[in-house]
Amino acid sequence: MLNDKKATELFSRSINGELSESESAQLEDHLSNSEAAKAFAELAKTIDRSIIENSSIDTASCGESGLSQEAKNRMSDSILRAMKKNSNLAATLLDSNDSPADQKFTLQSPQANPPLDSRETSSPYTIVRKLGEGGLGNVWLARDEKLNRNVAIKEMNRHALESPNAWQRFEREAEITGQLEHPNVVSLYQYGTDQKTGEPFYSMRFVGKRTLADAITEYHDRCLAGNCDPLILHRLLTAFLGVCQAIAYAHSRGVIHRDLKPENVGLDNFGQVIVLDWGLAKVVDDSDLSSQLSGDVELSGEALAETLVGEVIGTPLFMSPEQAAGESVSQQADIYGLGAILFAILTGDAPHEPKQSPTSEPLKIKDVLKSIQKNESPRPRDLRSDIPIELEAICMKAMALKKYARHDTASELANDVERWMVNQGQRQSEYETMRMEGRELRTNTQASVRDLETNVRFMANLPPIQELIRSNSAEDTIAWRDRLITIFSGLLRAKSDYRSIVYSRLDGDEFSELVRVERHSTVHSNIRSIPKSRLRAGTCSDFIERVSRNDPDEVYTSLACGALHDAANCENKDVTLFAGVPIFDAQEEDLYGVVIIECDLDHILKQQLNRRFVSTDIIVACDTYQTILHSNGSDGIVEESAGKPLQATRPDLSKAIAHLQEKLEYIDKTNQQVYGARLWLNANPHGIMFLLSHE
């Protein structure tokens, strides 16, 4: 049955003819029944019709204002300027008899008089398609007809052609790219000018259209769809290491990229990482840097002298604070850029991605730049809480607001990331062991608890239990009582963890013990039966009350501080495990009493913890967050029952504790530092948590 909302969705799709027959029938049925949905359909159609009718109407007929005279003049001037810059361009426009042909770039030496050697001068490229465009120029896929291979050709765009600075920048980009010989820097094949237009261009290795930005988007799309593959993150980080290596190399040659972002990192089909677009690169102003840059090949003096002090250069979304301030930048700006790429890999967003609400004013670029200068970058984990803490720390260090706080070199940054990647394998294996240890602790404790439950049920079904109810003479009572004491004592001797076994009679809210056998509090081997005159009686505790509500043979298990009838104050008291079962008069079928076994949980747990663990920090806690035992490498096993909530003393475990309120297991997939397991007690909403971690 459709509702209006679903019907409007179907209607939207129906306009584009995307509905199946059954969906169309459903929609028609709904439209005939819902006036509002029908109104929406009519209105949507009317709007579409209005848009289509008006989408290509001539300006004169609809009274719209066209271009202002000022804009027209600006356009005419701009075209004329472009034409003047190159007479061939003017000829192209004015000679309308030119026959259309494949556009071809034909190499020409940058010098005024082309050299005669044909090897240097002619190598025609046929343009295949546009690959992309940036602020400075457009990149085309072209075919090198001579060498029969694909190449990428970069040419200046129209805006750039009008700017003398852009010409110099384009030339410098080619020079810098050509001199950086590194597997992770795009290889430049040739630089020259188009014979026809006179515009400069250069050809370089074609690495495909896929960039790191595409790979990041794909990874995070998968994550959003619930298919987050750690292997892809590993590959992205490996690509990042390649970028760091290229930048470390460029820095060693005195070149700063200044526009590092995922879009400027090409990825070929074989995993090769290529840093592209050195159009904003700066050569550090140093007299010896021409040799630094290219070994024995010198750059032109103009290129070396050109510094862009005071200009804001780069891409705001990934820009360093000093670039945003228009200050002279150093290699540290690239370290920030690398950190920004790492940020994008981890979060899927650029670090300075504006967060706008629908009602907020559109952001101005100067506001963004101001914010970059003043504010610390957002923390990756604020965007995605599952990012490993160590990786976030590396990213935040690279993107520190202050230059001196960043990594000193790109290699150092790469080493940090690589170290994390290597440790990840070891961490994985250690975490698996931790999980195994945690599960083993839970299983062993569970076995002890189940054993306790079986024993209390067995004790409750002993013949003396019913015989004591029915006995009419003091003689019989003494005889059956003695027999029960003998059996209870035998069980206490066999089970060193059990503290006492009690058979009590209930009368309304009151209890009175009939038999109590207990272990001496200090001399544990001493098991004694409490004389009748010392047996306890009084108001039922919550635990006894809860046991008495059970049906026959149903065990209720619980934790408490101290002995059965002690107050609820846990200070300096061991945590005790109790299991109780109600006793019904077999003849009358009425509730008669309870049998309860009191067990030393600390003793059980200590026995388990007293062995070698990979996990260096183990906490066993009950549901009220009170720590029962704490075992760590240095202090051994410590009893902690100060009554403070564990979340307050160990905030690092709070996520695990919250998770274990409802789940059996907590697995820290992101950081692999904490493992949690929970043991539910019989018929009890509370239980025991085992929290294992590395200190």
């Binding site: 929406f40 300006t59 609809c62």
Partner: protein, 193 residues
């Protein structure tokens, strides 16, 4: 020989207004429209040799302009925060059972008042301007440029589901806005009478 029909001034004077009008309807931003028209002229000049003479120059330039508009929208979408998530008119229009709130869509075509095409278009255009750009751009490419969903997804690098969400929210937003505007106009007209 240069002719009057192939000078920059002639092109700007002859086709500038038309191209600008075409662009602004799709981009809803004067500066952006001027930029793509200028790009169109410069490209037209650069590749004038490819103009075969079949069809008018205006149609040929419009072909270039169409491409420029798509490129511009792609860039704009890439650098703008996608507000589609925040701008979901469903909350205003539907109750918790997914049915329209009472009077949520108060539009009805009035039998005694004919819809004036230019009047309606003025309202529609105003409402388009109030949509988040990510929704308006997808809607524009679909309805005005008649690109199919695959083409739009490819051009804007968005997933088909994201495309449908944007399209549907744009339709709801437009219907909501146009309905309200139309009614208030109609009320004003009734009072005037």
């Amino acid at each position: 020989m240069p002719t009057e029909q192939s000078t920059p001034e002639y092109w700007v004077e002859q086709y500038g207004d038309f191209l600008f009008s075409y662009a602004i309807k799709r981009l809803r931003d004067e500066n952006a429209a001027e930029e793509v028209v200028q790009e169109t002229f410069l490209n037209g000049i650069k590749y004038y040799s490819q103009y075969t003479g079949q069809g008018t120059q205006q149609a040929w330039l419009t072909g270039i302009l169409k491409r420029k508009i798509i490129d511009f929208i792609r860039k704009r979408n890439k650098h703008q925060h996608d507000q589609s998530e925040e701008h979901d008119p469903s909350n205003q229009l539907f109750d918790q059972h997914g049915n329209y709130h009472k009077n949520a869509l108060s539009w009805s075509s009035s039998p005694d008042r004919n819809l004036q095409s230019s009047e309606l278009w003025a309202i529609v255009r105003g409402c388009l301007n109030h949509l988040p750009p990510s929704q308006a751009d997808v809607f524009t490419l679909s309805v005005m440029e008649e690109l199919n969903s695959d083409q739009i997804c490819k051009e804007l690098a968005i997933t088909p589901s994201n495309y449908w969400v944007r399209m549907h929210r744009a339709r709801l937003g437009l219907a909501n806005c146009v309905g309200r505007q139309w009614n208030s106009n109609e009320e004003a007209a009734t009072h005037a009478e």
